[in-house]
């Protein structure tokens, strides 16, 4: 496994729109290293023939009926919105979208 350096953490932080001070980097770099070492240990386990775990809850096929309900008003929903206009949520334009949905 590639060694985790301050530069690795800086790169991941930038992707997550975060900024860390030098002291924080000194703390996070070894922590992240330990987490990845732990993951590497787990990868050593032989999982041949073991079905992947998708859910830890022992339930399946939980449905609700198709009954519409009004829970919150627009005013309630908008309480945490920093910028709004005519009932819309106002955000900076982001054009470069691969909206592959």
């Amino acid at each position: 496994m590639e060694k985790v350096t301050n530069d690795t953490i800086k790169h991941v932080a930038a992707l997550a729109q975060l900024e860390f001070s030098e002291e924080e980097l000194a703390k996070f770099t070894p922590q992240m290293g330990k987490i990845l070492e732990m993951a590497e240990e787990l990868q050593a386990v032989d999982t041949t023939g073991v079905e992947e775990t998708v859910q830890v809850v022992d339930r399946d096929t939980v449905f609700r009926e198709d009954v519409p309900e009004k829970w919150q008003t627009r005013e309630e929903m908008m309480k945490n919105v920093p910028d709004k206009s005519n009932g819309f949520v106002k955000v900076p334009v982001i054009i470069d979208k691969d909206d592959n949905q």
Binding site: Q55, V62, E65, D66, P92
Partner: protein, 476 residues
């Protein structure tokens, strides 16, 4: 040099539910922005999705109607991407274990039948609607967030734009007649993405694909694919290389415009949705849905033409949408003659709907009232001229035709014992017309009919008058 095109299509259908896929927010079209949402739709921390059973039922109907293999176990996955219309920063979809796979749609193109296979279909949530302003800001409405979608992904088996459109028309018809979606492209309840690549004829390896998103009419699909075929051919013939890209169809110029070049497929870091359990679809449920599937358009077409004797054109007009076909079926079930019912549906009823920009569900006319009015015409109670007045009243106000005719004294006079003396009186009073008729002037009959109609204030049944007149004249 000849080229072969390879076309694949991805179609999103908005499923016709009352509430959203993972929350009980109402599903509406055209509501004020952000009024039909709740904390689940907005992805508030601590909220959990819960699957709407109706979404599965409608999805299974489409799967069965397209001969697809229903997966007995399905689960949901997270598709991660950041964009303001996606409040959780992931979309819940089905990537690893979709609802159904390996279906097909049979189409007829250029006189040949062809099966176009469906790779898979899966259910997922729609995103909100992002409107870009001119001031550096976008405006987001989350009403559409969480509306259930069924995405149907074809195999890349179509080779020209006509095949692609034939597939879309057939798929639209199938989905509409299951009742799973109202497939209104203008409202976004059917949306189309296309993929097209070309390669020299005989070459095994596929060319580089170009994607076009959110095409909102079949004609635009046809035009954009035809344009892309030509554009890509010109690139290859001039020794160039087609780039993996997403393009947009410009409706004003009829050309496709580059939106972005892809470096490869986007990495959405799919992983199983931890907030939802796996879904085991019991065979009994699938069988029950299969047993209750509505008649397909093809089955209805066969009944209309073979059993009712309708012309294929009239049958196809009735089958333009499920509502129209259902209304016609109910009118016939209420006792109307099928040919008469088809004539009224395809002319007067459609004319009224076009004039009012309305749908059948929006107007006061019922199949029972239309059938009652048709019966009044066929049993001679009212003339076709009077029927138009009765129809105008019934379609506008839902008035019972029989009652309306009785209350307004609109019934035709068809009783021969009442009409015969009137006919005799008119003929006796017009010896010149009798003479003219005997001399071969058929117009004389028209004059005599007019006189009787005048006497009865237009209420006499013209058929009965003609019959009585001819009998009277023959006896003189």
């Amino acid at each position: 040099m000849n080229f072969t095109s390879t076309i694949g299509l991805e179609v999103h259908f908005e499923l016709k539910t009352k509430s959203k896929i993972f929350s009980p927010s109402p599903v509406t079209y055209g509501a004020k922005p952000n009024t039909e949402t709740n904390v689940i739709d907005w992805g508030y921390p601590g909220t959990l999705p819960m699957v709407n059973k109706e979404v599965y039922r409608l999805g299974l109907m489409v799967a069965l109607a397209t001969h697809s293999h229903v997966n007995p176990v399905t689960h949901f996955d997270r598709k991660n991407y950041f964009y303001p219309d996606n409040p959780k920063a992931y979309q819940i979809t089905q990537f690893f274990k979709p609802l159904a796979e390996n279906g097909y749609v049979e189409v007829e193109v250029h006189g040949k039948k062809k099966k176009i296979h469906i790779h898979e279909m899966h259910i997922e949530e729609d995103a909100g609607k992002n409107t870009h302003g001119t001031n550096g800001f976008s405006y987001v409405d989350y009403n559409r967030q969480g509306v259930p979608l069924l995405e149907v992904v074809s195999e890349p088996e179509m080779t020209d734009p006509d095949e692609a459109v034939a597939y879309l028309e057939k798929l639209r018809e199938i989905v509409q007649f299951t009742g799973a979606s109202d497939v209104k492209m203008e409202e976004g309840s059917m949306r189309i993405d296309t993929n097209i690549s070309i390669r020299p004829a005989g070459q095994k390896e596929l060319g580089t694909k170009v994607e076009m998103k959110n095409l909102n009419s079949f004609e635009h699909v046809r035009m954009s694919l035809a344009y892309e075929q030509k554009r890509q051919q010109e690139i290859l013939l001039s020794g160039g290389r087609v780039r993996l890209s997403t393009r947009r169809f410009d409706t004003n110029t009829g050309k496709t415009v580059l939106e972005r070049v892809k470096e490869g497929d986007a990495d959405y870091r799919y992983f199983p949705e931890p907030d939802l359990p796996p879904y085991h679809i019991k065979q009994e449920w699938v069988d029950e849905i299969a047993a209750n599937l509505p008649k397909t358009a093809d089955e209805r077409r066969k009944i209309y033409v073979d059993e009712y004797g309708l012309k294929p054109y009239d049958a196809n007009v009735l089958l333009q949408n499920k509502e129209s076909s259902d209304f016609f079926d109910a009118t016939v079930a209420a006792g109307a003659d099928p040919q008469q019912a088809a004539n009224w549906m395809n002319t007067q009823v459609n004319g009224y709907l076009n004039e009012k920009h309305a749908e059948l569900k929006d107007i006061a006319l019922t199949p029972e009232n239309l059938a009652a009015m048709i019966k009044l015409i066929s049993d001679g109670t009212i003339s076709s001229k009077i029927a138009k007045k009765v129809f105008a009243e019934t379609v506008a106000n839902g008035t019972d035709p029989k009652k309306y005719v009785e209350e307004n004294g609109m019934a035709q006079l068809s009783d021969e014992s009442v009409l015969a003396p009137m006919v005799k009186e008119v003929v006796d009073a017009n010896p010149q017309s009798v003479e003219d008729y005997k001399n071969g002037k058929d117009r004389a009959i028209g004059f005599l009919v007019g006189q009787i109609m005048k006497q009865t204030r237009g209420k006499a049944n013209p058929k009965v008058i003609n019959k009585l007149l001819l009998a009277d004249l023959a006896s003189r």
